[in-house]
């Protein structure tokens, strides 16, 4: 496992993407082919089922170290990762076991049919034969998550650089239904088991935030206006009866949206669509938070599919029956798109409505009200424009509604997990409610690393109570919280719920006396 441990080590001693890519290439040049296939499998989330119960692993480690359970739990909550906690508390190894990654994986797969006693013997022997990094990897291989700070895209880039194969082809090949042991590294890389032409995506056309007055845009009739929705931008490809959904991050997300995949499969012909994937229930567009619950899951339960149904709002047609339409004007593409969808009337696939308006003033008032229907604002597209590759100023503008903000005080803090396990990163904020405080929102993001360190220090010094991992802190630090919407809620103590709350900035200039009052905040609800 030395090569693999070296790779992990190299990946962990840099935060530069290029260095990570170099480390992966270095690994690919040295590791045996069977190991490479396993490496790709593990790094793309194709991991075997867990055959060893984590509770037993904890028990065995306590047996070896003679530590009390509570102390293990304290250690675990400080590390934030079980496999790592185990590898840190275990005594140094007394032997040296040398096995390749695929040999380890084979052994681990075989645990399935073993008794608990045999599993225990295997794990204990392995722990005693591996150094710290290898032991950590071993614990991860046993079935935990294997996240090591390499995105799918970085992996694809490294494989592209190593093999000379095109990125989209590799993405397609890697996303397919393959299993280590059943496919060779060469087959995987050369993509000989798939037809890469079927999945090849176009670069997305991207919009700039609107930066000038509407009257500077020219005549209103030159523009096509649509609502802007906060979902997942997706390119939906159907060629030769194969369906692919690419996200803007150049990831294949087809399997995450089976409803779309199946609906598109039912449609006739070949085409490439551009649209927004949204959670839609009873005709209402749900929060992105809801959609997010479905993303990046290994399996989508029936309940989840029923609770968070999705649809695509399609706004562009890039290819029809093999013809690239991107150079055609927006207006023409739109007409062809309408025809395609009108003929087929597919379920789950709607056309993004255009907004009719008389003059810019009217559009202004439409934009201001867009929040009422959970929209983020408007999209303005030049009717004459081609479908650009990437970002080009002038033809596509996004015009978002400005967020609402309040000033609130930090009252609870909790440590983050994984990457942020050493610091308090999860905060709960309160506003005034007559003479007392009432919690209004939780927010995780928005501060710089340096600010998080400072807040953590404050929490350490000013913690009042401890509820498990949560610390109550002196109400002193004031933050400006932005949110996209606000509504009454019986589930919240304050009686209101904020949508997408996030920290805009730390208001060091303000004291707790200057934070907002709940009654005033309620007035924001329309």
């Amino acid at each position: 496992m030395k090569h693999f441990a070296d790779l992990i080590n190299a990946l962990e001693t840099t935060n530069k993407t290029n260095a990570k890519i170099d480390a992966i290439i270095d690994y690919l040049e040295r590791a045996p082919d069977e190991d490479k296939v396993w490496f790709i499998a593990l790094f793309t989330g194709k991991r075997p089922k867990r055959n060893v119960n984590t509770n037993y692993m904890k028990e065995w480690a306590l047996e070896i170290t003679q530590l009390p359970f509570w102390l293990f739990q304290e250690s675990y909550s400080s590390v934030g990762d079980l496999g790592e906690t185990l590898s840190l508390i275990l005594p140094p190894p007394e032997q040296k076991i040398e096995r390749t990654l695929s040999e380890w994986m084979t052994d681990i797969l075989h645990l399935k049919d073993k008794t608990e006693a045999e599993k225990k013997a295997f794990v204990l022997q392995s722990w005693n034969g591996l150094d710290y990094t290898e032991r950590l990897i071993f614990n991860k291989l046993l079935g935990g998550s294997f996240r090591i700070g390499v995105s799918d895209k970085t992996l694809i880039n490294a494989l592209t650089k190593f093999s000379g194969q095109e990125a989209s082809t590799l993405t397609h090949s890697l996303t397919g239904k393959w299993q280590p042991g059943e496919i060779s590294f060469q087959e995987l890389i050369s993509a000989e088991k798939i037809n890469p032409d079927n999945s090849k995506p176009y670069p997305f056309c991207l919009a700039y935030p609107l930066e000038k007055g509407l009257d500077e845009l020219g005549a209103p009739e030159e523009w096509q206006i649509e609502y802007k929705w906060d979902g997942i931008r997706g390119q939906i490809i159907k060629r030769n009866d194969e369906v692919f959904i690419w996200s803007r991050g150049e990831e294949l997300v087809t399997e995450q949206f089976p409803e779309i995949r199946d609906a598109v499969k039912m449609m006739k012909g070949s085409f490439v669509l551009d649209g927004e994937i949204l959670a839609v229930k009873d005709g209402n567009i749900l929060n992105f938070n809801e959609l997010q619950k479905r993303l990046n899951r290994k399996t989508l339960t029936k309940k989840m599919l029923a609770d968070i149904p999705i649809e695509v709002f399609v706004y562009d047609l890039l290819e029809l029956e093999g013809t690239d339409l991107r150079e055609k004007p927006m207006e023409a593409r739109r007409a062809m798109l309408e025809e395609l969808l009108l003929n087929e009337h597919p379920e789950k696939i709607r056309i993004s409505q255009t907004i009719t308006f008389e003059n810019w003033d009217e559009l202004n008032s439409i934009q201001e009200k867009s929040r009422e229907i959970n929209s983020e604002g408007l999209m303005l597209k030049q009717k004459n424009s081609p479908y650009h590759a990437g970002r080009k100023k002038g033809d596509w503008w996004k015009w978002k509604v400005s967020p609402l903000t309040i000033d609130a005080v930090l009252i609870y803090a909790q440590k983050g997990s994984g990457r942020r396990s050493a610091y308090y990163t999860d905060y709960t904020f309160a506003v005034k409610n007559r003479d007392s405080l009432v919690t209004i929102a939780k927010a995780y993001s928005g501060l710089t690393d340096k600010e998080i360190m400072e807040v953590s220090k404050f929490v350490n010094k000013n913690a009042i109570e401890k509820f498990g991992p949560v610390r109550t802190v002196k109400a002193e630090l004031v933050f400006e919280i932005a949110f996209e919407g606000i509504g009454f809620s019986s589930r919240h103590k304050s009686g209101v719920a904020l949508r997408f709350p996030r920290i805009v900035r730390w208001r060091r200039d303000k004291t707790v006396d200057e934070i907002d009052d709940l009654e005033e905040i309620k007035k924001l609800i329309q």
Binding site: N15, D81, L88, R420
Partner: protein
């Protein structure tokens, strides 16, 4: 009488007051955080050696550090390890704590009762500080910075090898190796670890402390003071050591081809390593690890242990469970190391 810091030993050789750890019989404080008449200082880190004392007592090696950090006008008496000073009938002596150069455990003896205030300490021999000396006592005051079983350090040699191979790899890739570590203690250890691998540049604040050590006759590896303003190009592909306050600063960003490494015990945990905006993290610490803390506490054979800064609740709970009477003492130690680094860095000579 302050209610919060109740005296706990029947002999009251030390009490814990608002101003710091106090010896009522000797009428002196150890590492106090408020101005007092006589302060016995364990070591030169800013959370232990503070400004405003009428008189300081410390080890010979700590004296120039205090002059450097607090000011040249202070009244400071320094002693050798093991040298006995009688203060109002209390026998006071300093014993190596192995934390940084000149760091000391303070041993107090009165009517046959012995208390040791260990300040910060580590058991590992770092090759620079005088190695930790075990001092038997009735009452032991211990830190607990890394008082969790996940913190067990590598052997100093193995750790140094890791630093060396990182530097070599950087040189291979035409990178500048930038280490981030406290200017007092850690920086000198890093200098020692990478000695001979290339030209070593240190930040001005580290240079100042190096001079203080050199004045005490301590031999440090060759180094140059880095000139980040006029001559930052000369750092390219060399070794640079800067204090933590410069992390994320524009100075580090300006260093050409920099690969950065944070050197701190906290880097033992991947989460902490990955979270910081550095390339690498090396768990090098001047504090005792879990095994070290337990080893020291047990070996003192103290009947009573006071746990100060760090994982206080956890460590004292565990000590009580294994039959060692321990309690938690609140102090202001261990909190301001970083802030004090900042003060030095913001001097105009930067």
């Amino acid at each position: 009488m302050n209610v919060k810091y109740k005296p706990i030993t029947p002999l009251k050789l030390i009490t814990f007051t608002k101003k710091g750890i106090y010896c009522p019989q000797g009428k002196f404080y150890i590492d106090p955080w408020r101005p007092v008449d006589l302060a016995v200082i364990t070591h030169g880190h800013a959370d232990h050696a503070r400004w405003g004392m009428k008189k300081y007592l410390c080890h010979h090696f700590t004296k120039p550090v205090l002059y450097q950090r607090i000011g040249p006008d202070i009244e400071c008496q320094s002693v050798e390890y093991g040298e006995i000073v009688h203060i109002n009938g209390v026998k006071v002596s300093l014993h190596p704590a192995g934390h940084i150069i000149g760091s000391a455990q303070i041993r107090l003896e009165y009517k046959g009762f012995v208390t040791v205030v260990s300040g910060d300490y580590k058991i590992q021999d770092d090759g620079l500080s005088t190695p930790f000396e075990l001092v038997r006592c009735n009452e032991f005051v211990t830190e607990s910075t890394f008082g969790l079983p996940i913190y067990n350090w590598l052997e100093v040699n193995d750790l140094n090898k890791k630093l060396q191979s990182w530097v070599l790899k950087n040189q291979e890739n035409s990178k500048t190796s930038v280490f981030i570590g406290y200017s007092l203690g850690k920086a000198q250890r890093i200098m020692k670890a990478v000695e001979g691998l290339g030209k070593t540049y240190v930040h001005y604040s580290i240079g100042k402390l190096n001079k203080a050590f050199e004045e005490s006759g301590i031999l440090l590896p060759d180094y140059k003071i880095a000139d980040f303003r006029e001559n930052i190009k000369e750092l390219q592909h060399e070794i640079v050591i800067v204090p933590p306050a410069l992390l994320d600063s524009s100075i580090i960003r300006k260093i050409p081809d920099a690969a950065t490494a944070i050197c701190s015990g906290w880097m033992q945990v991947r989460g902490a390593r990955r979270w910081r905006s550095a390339d690498a993290g090396f768990p090098i610490s001047d504090h005792a690890d879990w095994k070290g803390l337990l080893q020291a506490v047990k070996a003192t054979e103290a009947e009573k242990v006071h746990v100060t800064h760090g994982q206080t609740d956890i460590f004292s709970k565990y000590l009580n469970e294994i039959g060692i009477k321990a309690d938690v003492i609140e102090t202001l130690f261990g909190e301001d190391e970083e802030e004090s680094e900042k003060e030095i860095i913001e001097t105009p000579e930067l």
